[in-house]
């Protein structure tokens, strides 16, 4: 039957219009996919930069409390007992982006809980050192402002008080 005849190689070897269009379509789809992948990689590297900056901000806050514990410490201070979890915190700039506009700025929020007194029970000194936990949270550009998309970094440090 003629309908079952294969007609792969019965022309003179040139390309026709439909094949051109299909070929161009394939190239276009491949190009779009490639550029999407490159954009994705670029966004991931930007996220890494912001993560690194958030770590630096968290560490700076730990340094502040390490200095306070070492020199200027009152263990009855409310900020020591409960941290700043219940207070509104001014946001800190995480990524400035284009300096001519504020629309692309990424802001982060710094929180820390109670400073934990640690007694090793071996020294007989009472509180041997204090443990500090700082958490920095932010949202990546283009993500909704809900807990599911929240990015965070937690930094922990310790310090002995000046009495030692």
């Amino acid at each position: 039957m003629k309908c079952l005849n294969s007609k792969w190689r019965d022309d003179a070897g040139s390309i026709d219009f439909i094949q051109i269009v299909v070929g161009l379509l394939i190239v276009a789809i491949a190009a779009v996919g490639t550029f999407q992948a490159l954009n994705f990689g670029n966004d991931k590297m930007n996220q890494q930069m912001r993560y690194r900056k958030a770590m630096s901000i968290a560490r700076s806050y730990v340094e502040y409390w390490q200095g306070r514990i070492h020199t200027d410490f009152d263990d009855k201070d409310p900020r020591v007992i409960q941290g700043n979890l219940n207070q509104s915190v001014d946001p800190t700039v995480l990524d400035l982006g284009d300096p001519t506009t504020d629309a692309d700025d990424v802001m982060c929020y710094v929180r820390y809980g109670r400073l934990d007194p640690i007694d090793l029970l071996e020294t007989g000194l009472g509180v041997d050192y204090w443990r500090i936990n700082v958490k920095v949270t932010w949202w990546e550009p283009g993500t909704p402002r809900n807990p599911d998309y929240e990015q965070s970094v937690i930094f922990t440090g310790t310090m002995v008080s000046a009495g030692l």
Binding site: D16, G67, P99
Partner: protein
């Protein structure tokens, strides 16, 4: 009976309309791809420059932070522009009875931070082969007391509540770099990005007996 067939291909060659439409489609695609590739190349160049700047900024901050953590004393003097000359004094790691000083300063002309004996933090910055119109600038390199120039209102007020021993040993390092990309064609716009690198350091040894040296 022959089965009905749909003929997608003709063996009669190209018609004029098919050839014209094919050429127009190919020309539009090539033009579009060229524009996208050029834009993406510009995007990648900017992205690379910003990452180079970010790496250098973090290197400077980390090295200075590390030196300050081990320092016994710090002296800050005014530098050129919005920069400071920082003298970090520390115990010699081999001989614990003498002190050495590491001098940090910003070289605005060559866009570099030097320390010690004019050593560079990173010899590969700024990149030697930059594109046309590209440049970096050091906007700020300062070491100040805790919250002395902080944009945070709470920190500025907190400063008034702290003891002098804390204020004398807690420092803020601020390092600001700017990358500028001037247009290469007439009518283009200059693109720039600024990054601030910040660390707060508590110089522990300033409040410890070790600042007087270690003698056997």
């Amino acid at each position: 009976m022959n089965a009905p067939s749909i003929k997608f291909r003709r063996d009669d060659g190209w018609t004029f309309i098919e050839a014209t439409i094919s050429i127009v489609i190919m020309a539009i695609m090539v033009l579009g791809l060229t524009i996208v590739l050029l834009a993406f190349r510009e995007q990648l160049d900017r992205s690379w420059a910003v990452r180079v700047m970010d790496q250098y900024g973090n290197d400077v901050i980390e090295q200075l932070t590390h030196e300050l953590r081990n320092a016994t004393d710090v002296e800050v003097r005014g530098g050129v522009g919005n920069t400071s000359r920082i003298d970090v004094k520390y115990l010699d790691p081999i001989r614990h009875d003498i002190f050495r000083t590491s001098n940090w300063r910003a070289d605005l002309r060559n866009v570099r931070i030097t320390h010690g004996n004019n050593d560079l933090v990173d010899p590969s910055f700024p990149p030697r082969q930059m594109g046309q119109g590209e440049s970096y600038e050091i906007i700020q390199f300062t070491l100040s007391q805790y919250a002395a120039d902080s944009p945070n209102e709470w920190e500025r007020q907190d400063r008034n509540r702290r003891k002098q021993s804390f204020l004398d040993a807690a420092y803020d390092i601020r390092f600001k770099l700017r990358y500028i990309r001037k247009p290469t064609e007439i009518g283009g716009r200059t693109w720039s990005v600024e990054k601030e690198f910040f660390n707060r350091v508590y110089v522990r040894n300033k409040n410890l007996i070790v600042k007087k040296g270690i003698t056997d």
